[in-house]
């Protein structure tokens, strides 16, 4: 019964693995993200895509909540304003704390609601994650601000890298063809601002990326898709 390998090897594309599936043994390989070790064997702990890099076995999850890491850019929605801080939903298992010292404005005591109130959207950065997963975020950095207007869209956090593309190539292409302002949070949220046609186009592209996330050559296909009915490209 121990360590049976299932023969679901796809001939092309990336290999999908499931929890408890054996991936390798410990002296030959090292256990990376998304794996655990039991009796010197490496097993997958999540449903994901197998990725082996220099003896390190990683499993990149296909589904699941956003796992916050310090320094991540996230898009948050304010849940409530207290006298000296805000609670912000950043799509993680836990709400994040935004303290008045971590915003670029001078705030009088208990005046927090004047600046950010329930339902407001912000582009923030994860400041700290402690061992009991208490989260703090900050607005004190360049390129961090309150997002006014626009559309907020959610996607599967695991495909963040596919939406961004290599060195932001994907997002640059989308911005070029649709002339929208786009901000992508690592927590699975996208904020889009532009004219209605452009926004519509972006929504189509995002759902296309979501459906085809596990395939190769995605950026090229998206560019073809966008070029097909692009009128004026800057």
């Amino acid at each position: 019964m121990n360590g049976r390998v299932i023969d679901f090897m796809p001939s092309e594309g990336r290999q999908v693995v499931i929890p408890g599936q054996i991936l390798g043994e410990i002296p030959a390989f090292k256990a990376g993200r998304g794996t655990f070790i039991e009796n010197k064997k490496i097993y997958s702990e999540v449903l994901g895509i197998l990725n082996i890099q220099e003896n390190f076995i990683h499993v990149i999850p296909l589904r699941g909540r956003y796992d916050p890491e310090v320094g991540d850019f996230v898009i948050g929605v304010v849940l409530e304003a207290s006298t000296s801080n805000w609670m912000v939903d950043i799509n993680a298992p836990y709400p994040a704390l935004l303290h008045v010292n971590e915003v670029p404005w001078e705030i009088e005591f208990a005046d927090t609601e004047k600046y950010l109130n329930t339902g407001d959207t912000i582009l923030a950065k994860v400041l700290s994650v402690d061992e009991s997963k208490k989260l703090q975020i900050t607005l004190n950095d360049r390129n961090l601000f309150k997002l006014k207007g626009g559309h907020l869209l959610e996607f599967e956090p695991s495909i963040y890298r596919r939406i961004i593309g290599k060195k932001f190539s994907m997002i640059e292409i989308i911005q070029k063809y649709t002339r929208c302002r786009i901000k992508v949070g690592k927590n699975g949220r996208i904020w889009i601002d532009g004219d209605p046609d452009g926004i519509e186009k972006v929504l189509q592209v995002i759902s296309k990326i979501e459906n085809e996330a596990a395939t190769f050559g995605l950026t090229d296909r998206i560019e073809q898709f966008l070029r097909k009915d692009a009128k004026d490209v800057r």
């Binding site: 019964m1 121990n2 360590g3 049976r4 299932i6 679901f8 796809p10 092309e12 594309g13 990336r14 999908v16 499931i18 929890p19 408890g20 998304g34 655990f36 039991e38 097993y43 702990e45 999540v46 449903l47 999850p61 296909l62 589904r63 699941g64 909540r65 298992p93 836990y94 709400p95 061992e131 009991s132 997963k133 695991s158 459906n211 085809e212 996330a213 596990a214 395939t215």
Partner: protein
């Protein structure tokens, strides 16, 4: 309950035509609900079960939180129309018990230490019941957990064995459950063989128990393959679609 109904013939044929070691027909589909983080629809003979997973999210009320790990809260519920006559809606003694044993079975395989203070909520809704709903519910819940991307050590799976007219058989049907001698539902972690749930209704001798247990484990392993197939089908379809 004693009766003179012949549940199994001398040739080993059961009421629905199955042999003593045959399972009912099982169909599993992952990711059927859009609002839940993960979901699964499962049909096991005449059972129809829907499982939905939410989370990990902060556990409420606060005092239920564990500062070191996540809690798994399963809620087993039977629809009013799931049985003959009508079941009075709401939790009763039976469903509270099943919720508890399923929660504890799932908590064993979920890597709960990755989500301190959180709760992982599993909702199991029995739409149509025909004996063996706790096994069907747990099997569906396991697929829904994977669909939700919850980190786990293994994919738990459940199956029952029992005794009818003195013969040990696999996967009891409705009449066999009502008029049979014993029912033994178990859940295991198929990779390690660890037992996650074991209940027994009725009487078995020591030898019969061992025989029924081994049979149920065998059934679990068969169902386990179906679970894996269902997950793979859902997530490999994506890759195949584009290659056309």
């Amino acid at each position: 309950m004693k009766s003179n109904i012949e549940l199994i013939t001398s040739e080993g044929k059961r009421l629905d035509g199955r042999g003593p070691e045959d399972l009912r027909k099982i169909r599993i589909e992952a990711g059927v609900l859009h609002r839940a983080d993960g979901s699964c629809s499962l049909e096991w003979g005449g059972n129809k079960v829907l499982a939905a997973v939410y989370g990990p999210r902060e556990a409420v009320p606060r005092h239920t939180q564990n500062p070191l790990r996540a809690i798994v809260q399963a809620r087993y519920n039977m629809a009013a129309f799931s049985v003959e006559d009508r079941k009075r809606p709401g939790p009763d003694r039976r469903s509270v018990e099943i919720s508890k044993v399923i929660s504890e079975a799932l908590e064993r395989v979920v890597l709960t230490d990755q989500f301190p203070r959180a709760s992982i909520d599993v909702n199991i809704e029995v739409l149509d019941a025909e004996a063996g709903t706790r096994c069907a519910g747990l099997t569906a819940a396991a697929v829904a957990l994977i669909d939700a991307g919850i980190p786990m050590r293994d994919i738990p799976v459940a199956c029952a064995a029992g005794k009818i007219n003195g013969v040990v058989v696999l996967d009891l049907g409705k009449e066999e459950d009502n008029f049979g001698d014993a029912d033994l539902p178990i859940a295991i972690s198929p990779r390690t063989g660890e037992v996650l749930l074991l209940q027994m209704d009725g009487h078995l001798t020591y030898d019969e128990f061992n025989q029924a247990f081994d049979l149920a484990v065998k059934g679990c392993l068969t169902v386990s393959e179906l679970q894996k197939k269902a997950i793979m089908q859902k997530y490999q379809a994506v890759a195949a679609e584009v290659q056309e």
